[in-house]
Symmetry: C2
Subunit: 277 residues, 2 copies
Amino acid sequence: MRQPNASRATASRDRHAALAPEKRKREPLARGLSLIRWALDTRTEEIGVRAAADALKIAPSTAHSLMSSLVAEGFLRRNANATYGLGHELLMLAHKAADRLPLSRIALPHMRTLVAHCNEAAFLNVYNPDRQEFFAVANVESTQVLRYVVEMNKWKPVYVSAGGWAIMAHLPKADRDEICARTKLKPLTPFSITDPEELEKQLAIVRARGYALSHSQRIPGAVGLSAPLVDPSGHVLGGIGISLPETRFKSDSEGELSRLLLACTSAICRGIRDGNG
Amino acid sequence: MRQPNASRATASRDRHAALAPEKRKREPLARGLSLIRWALDTRTEEIGVRAAADALKIAPSTAHSLMSSLVAEGFLRRNANATYGLGHELLMLAHKAADRLPLSRIALPHMRTLVAHCNEAAFLNVYNPDRQEFFAVANVESTQVLRYVVEMNKWKPVYVSAGGWAIMAHLPKADRDEICARTKLKPLTPFSITDPEELEKQLAIVRARGYALSHSQRIPGAVGLSAPLVDPSGHVLGGIGISLPETRFKSDSEGELSRLLLACTSAICRGIRDGNG
DNA sequence: CCAAGCGTTCTTTATAGCCGAACATAAATC
DNA sequence: GATTTATGTTCGGCTATAAAGAACGCTTGG
């Protein structure tokens, strides 16, 4: 019933062997956390045992056991029709975690005034030194009908796009070199810069004028401006970005937008200093 | 080698036996999640291995192992001075989880107009049927100098306070009875109602007029008004509450505040219906 | 200078996590 | 309505590994 056809069984086994040559490791904590992440990433409302098992490449019975534990802890909940959904403990955890990052609380008001003045989408990027990547945690949309929606809550490399450059330009040289070496500057669009020296030159320009500007680097037809947020000790926390279609980017736009952008980031940095000291 | 000193070994064993009579169970997932919760609840910026071990009543080496796994997963991060802090993965998880609850996104604008009209603190409560408890996930503060700050992100019983009554009144009778039986209506203040029949009478009044009103039930000197939020199928999702000092609660306040409150909740319920359908 | 605190490492032990397979139920298909 | 396929769930056995304790190196501060 399971394997009525020998060849199919072999194929299935091979696929598995190819992906998991080493023995199965036993790590309930890591797997449980991955399960939570997967449950949050999946778009469907109801999540199933076997779907989770497939996603995490574990046995259905293992997934069932993990999910039972997560239900007991309140991170998942059992639906009426014998499926699972997200639990309320996750929501509470989310709010507690959000409280611990005062950055968005400080930044959002200034971002709103920024958008009020230029009417282009602004977003807040947070840099993670461990991953050497960043992601957008908050955005303020413009009232324009044509606008670029930034992909929120997703890791992005720093060596491409204005948002990344604003951050990377203000990292220590050692970190920059490490990023170039580790990522090999894998091109994400045909226009991406892949030469470390050329990138260094561009980043020097970014440092000199205080903000990054990119045309169609990650998204075709989009112009990005971004300036870094640094804490009092000089570490890069992230940045504020503006994204707009090239058709709205006129010859005098850069001066106007960069002025507004730098005013916004310096106001936020002042807020950080006052809030922490 | 095992017991170089009999008396010391015995003392250690006794202390341990007193605190943990049952055998140590092995549950890395549950413990890791509890560790995350503890890390979020603790107010200090730096969290330590031994502090976590004490809080979770586990050996320091066990806590160290758990925390190493959490660092590997990005939920904690290692500080420079050999301590630990919250990791960025938590922050990302928080945003993803918050996106999954459209309730606050729908409710907040209406709460803001509510506060704009009455200038008293408003908050959004979410009910969890599994725990039969609720907690506040969002609040809009007033500009008053004297105001009650609601305790956010903390489980609260439904059988006390206006926020709880608004929810409990609209639960099925079976759930209400279960809550009375399970909690024994343990009084939280001298003014708390402890008689199930008396509580039922009060809840009937709440149902009849559409909102709950409480004087000094949980916080002395505070007046609370709250109305429930129900989804299209009739289940209680939570409620909207207003909290103000008794000194500002005049004879004509109830009519005015309840009118604004019910306008707010019905607007939110309309938003939920439109958003889901 | 030593005492006390910390995070970390190592070793041992037996427990519980993991899997495969079988089971029960429900929905979809013929 | 029978059959097929999907699902969530349970069970038994194997063994990797989580937990604990003791010892270590380190920093701190009296």
